[in-house]
């Protein structure tokens, strides 16, 4: 289903560029990129911006594929989002964590894959992080990510309490043009373990907690941004010590319809493996 949606978006993106319909009014990269949870943002944290290049009179959208190759795992994510009148964003994403050799160690079998589907909604509450350059007020959005882990019995056996959960977040983002900077901060309420790939809640903690996430990017050119991100995480499972995430990224939009993001991610401990880091690469098509 999601794969079909992705292909539909792909085709739509190309026909849009071919026929130059009334879309894509926004400036380059101001639609952000798709985070690994599907919502528009940086790579690992959602921003307040509404995805796609649609203006307040248009509908925009994007689709993405992200591959993260870290020391002992591989994480794939793909999905699509629609931005409606620069006010509401709907997103769908599928994540697949390939446990590779760790799977065998955990008794799940080598290359065991844990899948998770995420539906997201984001609503812009106030501000315009791009246009309102005379004011310090950032763009502020509220969002929810509804997650369903497809391997309930596996994540429960690792100590998770549930196989589904909802993250709520409040994001404040602003481009400070006079300094060529993008600044974003997000407060998230969650009990997801490794975004939900290891389930929700656990045998050490089983309640919702609030976490800070932030991004800072320098706009090298109008189509290139260089930045870093930080994301604090819960630590609910006895079997694993979950750690905060960070990355350094470079986002490049060679044309309005295509953007590429490369990042070096530092994800700390994941399940039984320490110091998980590696390269994140993402292709996004938008209109």
């Amino acid at each position: 289903m999601l794969r079909n949606l992705f292909i539909t978006f792909l085709v739509f993106s190309f026909t849009q560029s071919a026929f130059a319909l009334e879309t894509s009014g926004k400036l380059l990269l101001t639609g952000g990129v798709s985070s690994i949870e599907g919502a528009t943002g940086g790579g690992i944290t959602p921003w307040a911006f509404i995805g796609g290049y649609g203006t307040r009179d248009q509908v925009g959208g994007s689709s993405y594929y992200t591959n993260t190759n870290i020391s002992d795992y591989k994480l794939e994510s793909y999905g699509a989002s629609v931005g409606i009148f620069d006010r509401v964003e709907l997103s769908a994403a599928r994540q697949t964590l390939d446990t590779q050799r760790v799977g065998a160690t955990l008794g799940l079998g080598r290359d065991f894959k844990i899948r998770q589907d995420i539906l997201g909604v984001k609503i812009k509450l106030i501000g315009d992080g791009v246009l309102e350059q005379a004011s310090w007020l950032p763009q502020i959005s509220f969002g929810a990510l509804m997650k369903q882990n497809k391997e309930g019995s596996v994540v429960r056996s690792l100590g998770a309490a549930e196989e589904r959960g909802v993250d709520y977040y409040l994001a404040a983002s602003k481009i400070i043009l006079s300094q060529s900077l993008l600044v974003s901060a997000t407060l998230r309420r969650t009990k997801a373990n490794q975004m939900g790939l290891l389930g929700f809640g656990g045998d050490s903690h089983n309640r919702q907690q609030y976490f800070f996430e932030g991004s800072l990017a320098y706009l090298l050119r109008r189509n290139i941004a260089l930045g870093m991100e930080y994301r604090m995480k819960p630590n609910n499972l006895k079997v694993a010590k979950e750690e905060n995430w960070s990355d350094l990224f470079l986002a490049w939009a060679p044309t309005k319809n295509i953007s590429l993001t490369f990042a070096y991610t530092m994800l700390g401990n994941i399940a039984i493996k320490d110091h998980q880091s590696g390269v994140y690469s993402s292709l996004q098509l938008g209109f």
Binding site: G25, K26, T55, D86, E132, L177, Q179, S180, R222
Partner: protein, 136 residues
């Protein structure tokens, strides 16, 4: 000697009063004229923005834009054109048209090798004008 230093200090302060680093980065008046000329070429090439400019007095608009950009960059100019609200009233300019103009300007600035930071400084000054331009 002291007089010389004093004189050079004075001339420096006069200079500093009239121009900003960004204005210099744009190549002062001559640089702005080139940027605005190229912006108009881009506006006429883009089917979204073309209808607003093809039948207008382009020479006049360009002259006023140079004045306005110069003033916004703290150069030695005073903007003598209409205020933004009046200049755009009734033209049914939407957000996409507005961003179309920004893009035309960005391309022109890049073509004229204006440093990125100076480009963004100018855009930061112009962006708040959206309130008087879009849907007026």
């Amino acid at each position: 000697m002291k007089v010389l230093i004093l004189l050079s200090l004075m001339s420096f302060s006069v200079f500093a009063e009239q121009t900003s680093a960004e204005y210099v980065a744009f190549g002062e008046k001559a640089g702005l004229v080139k940027v605005v000329d190229d912006t108009m070429i881009n506006l006429l090439a883009d089917p979204h923005t073309k209808p607003f400019f093809e039948k207008a007095d382009q020479a006049h608009i360009k002259e006023k834009l140079v004045e306005q950009f110069c003033a916004e960059l703290e150069g030695p100019c005073t903007y003598t054109g209409q205020n933004m609200k009046r200049a755009h009233k009734g033209h049914e300019i939407n957000q996409a048209h507005f961003f179309g103009l920004v893009e035309a300007l960005q391309k022109a600035m890049t073509k004229n090798q204006i440093p990125e930071r100076a480009q963004n400084k100018l855009l930061a000054k112009l962006a708040p004008m959206h309130k008087d331009i879009i849907n007026k």
